[in-house]
Amino acid sequence: MSTEILMPALSPTMTEGNLSKWLIKKGDTVKAGDLIAEIETDKATMEVEAVDEGIVLDLLFEEGEANIPVNKAIAIIGDPNEKVEAKKEAPIEKLIKENKIEKNIETKIENKKADIIDTPSPKIEEDRNLSSEEITMRQALRDTMAEEMRKDNKVFILGEEVAEYQGAYKVTQGLLQEFGKERVLDTPISEHGFTGLAVGAAFKGLRPILEFMTFNFSMQAIDQIINSAAKTLYMSGGQINCPIVFRGPNGAAAQVAAQHSQDFSSWYSQVPGLKVIAPSTPYNAKGLLRSAISDPNPVIFLENEILYGLKGPVNNDINFSIPIGKANIEKEGKDLTIVTYSIMLQKSKEAALRLKEEYNLDTEIIDLQTLRPLDTETILNSVKKTNRLITVEESWPFGSVGSEISNIVQRDAFDYLDSPVIKVNSADVPMPYALSLEKLYLPQVDDIINAAKKVSYIK
């Protein structure tokens, strides 16, 4: 009986890996626990152990082969006397074909890809400095930090695993090597303490970039963010500002459950003194992060783990920036408006394609980019044109960014509305672990389509 060794998922959001090195060869006997290969993921290079025992019958990929999907067979072990067909097709795909697969496995793959549509928006295409090469969101963020650190010695980065580990999500990869340990500092797991320390450093004139491994951990430090960073300029009568960027992944990743999946966009957007940014593409991540680092105020920069691998063109001018407080009309349309941000931009774009195909609805999509200060003008102008509005976001529904937009629109554009505003949010429950429930919790393309039909009075 032979067994396939599959490309393992080494992190909750990994979708593919590179086979950097085989530690076994054909004919070797392997025992459970033996190291068999080095796999490079989007976050790190890791050694993989065998879990089954037998003789290596075949290695299905050469060393150096890249982008091998998770769950694809990479080697076969088993009894040497048994005849084996070398299967290049991943068992999961085969099973889907044969209709034997459980539905939730299919869901898992779909969830991890996060319905990413990476067609650049019209405005980006107009950018004459657009790179021909596409880079990932994580590279865009890293490059921008490095560029700003080269320009200004007062910019430094601190956080858990940002230096020697090269970033828990590899966003700070290479920064330690270039800037040294005085400017790229690994902190202990001590959010309250190191956040307060960074705030004090900013009061004294440095420009810290503080990485939260995820924003879930910012709750440990929220007193320093709100009571110290956000309020001191006001409390000091304008004397002491706090030029700091708090950045890191926000919201759901994949199956990391209730305590590691929270969306904080409306929490921080409620606080005067903070600016809040949520990029959605490598292009705007670069432009917005540069503005955030240059800003003299505390900025909450909400990234998204699933988007870190999203590729797209960028503007490589080291002074290119996107102003804080300006939304982007991602797609123009005349029948209804979707206001969204961060990862939900991708789902909104997919919904817009289907709304056009299936219902002939021409959707305008506004990517907020900045949540505070909110670009109300762009939203209102769009609503005055389309007369219908839905908001799409990952946060909980109560008091969300969409709630505030609904309030503004009913107050300032009441006579333009042809239907009530509808909000699409995550479910009003803690994030569940089970894959099936997680999918139900998060806003899906169908939810957006249903909301769009409702504001358009389509049955």
Binding site: G193, G196, V199, A201, G237
Partner: protein, 320 residues
């Protein structure tokens, strides 16, 4: 120890007296409804900040708690503008937007005035980080109340300061009560200065009613920190004569306890020393007393006549 000049004795006496007169006047204005909100007086603790300040460089930084009026006066800041902040007027150090607990003077490296117990400790550690990052020889003095010594972020800051050898001098002002809870009802282990031991931070306990003891300890500790050895903790044993804040009748302690501390009044100790050493005569001291009273009276006058902030100020200073 730092050699004290005759002028130093006069300076210490004047500053301590100024703090006391200021706080008494603040209490009066509070009673008249001219000062609102929370108001925490420093009476009894004067020797702490004045002693520490005798040993520092003017480019050193400082952060403290909400019991901050005395710290600002000792720093040489203008009592008129401090009192105007207490009365919430536009001439106040925070233009009337901060109040008693949230006062700052960036030009004097005075970084507050923090209203949240313990929050100033990581902040002071971060200011010390900046001195080191910039290659400056300065230190940050970070004051901590005994109540904050049971707060988690204080230990996170100790760990970071020791780990990164930051030039921060932690000064625990142990006035025996965190609001109404005595230290022995709040802290397991009464030697607060030993709480840095686990991080390798040296500490010592000092009599905070005696300014000369404070100077001696601060001088030694300041040198240690300034030479790049990392943080140091001084626990200063002091006592506040008044309640935690103006609304506290201090029923949790006895009159005898208070009277006992008043026997070792920090200002009287300096005065006695001045007379003993014949640095000034009784008449000269009397003149200081009179001038101080007058200065504080003028400060109160100024603070009650300064205009309230303009309505348009509501929306300024939210963002730079």
């Amino acid at each position: 120890m730092k050699k004290l000049q005759k002028a130093d004795y006069i300076k210490m006496y004047s500053f301590m007296l100024k703090i006391r007169r200021f706080e008494e006047r603040a209490a009066q204005l509070y009673g008249m409804g001219k000062i609102g909100g929370f108001c925490h007086l420093y009476i009894g603790q004067e020797a702490v900040v004045v002693g520490i300040l005798m040993t520092i460089d003017k480019n050193d930084s400082v952060v403290t708690t909400y019991r901050d009026h005395g710290h600002m006066i000792a720093r040489g800041l203008d009592p008129k503008r401090i009192m105007a902040e207490l009365t919430g007027r536009e001439d106040g150090y925070s233009a009337g937007k901060g109040g008693s607990m949230h006062m700052f003077s960036k030009e004097n490296n005075f970084y507050g005035g923090h209203g949240i117990v313990g929050a100033q400790v990581p902040i002071g550690t971060g200011i010390a980080f900046t001195h080191k990052y910039n290659g400056e020889k300065n230190i940050c003095r970070t004051y901590i109340g005994d109540g904050a010594m049971n707060n988690g972020q204080v230990f996170e800051a100790f760990n970071l300061a020791a780990l990164w050898k930051l030039p921060v001098l932690y000064i625990i002002e142990n006035n025996k009560y965190g609001m109404g809870t005595s230290v022995d009802r709040a802290a397991a282990g009464l030697d607060l200065y030993k709480r840095g031991e686990a991080f390798g931070i040296p500490g010592e306990k000092v009599d905070g009613m005696n300014v000369f003891s404070v100077i001696e300890a601060a001088d030694k500790a300041g040198k240690y920190v300034r030479e790049g050895n990392g943080p140091y903790i001084i626990e200063v044993q002091t006592y506040r004569y008044r309640g935690h804040s103006m609304s506290d009748p201090a029923k949790y302690r006895t009159k005898e306890e208070l009277d006992n501390y008043k026997q070792t009044d920090p200002i009287e100790i300096v005065k006695a020393e001045i007379l003993k050493k014949k640095i000034a005569t009784r008449d000269e001291i009397e003149k200081i007393n009179k001038d101080t009273l007058e200065e504080i009276k003028n400060a109160a006058e100024f603070a009650t006549n300064s205009p309230f902030p303009k309505d348009s100020e509501l929306y300024t200073d939210v963002y730079l």
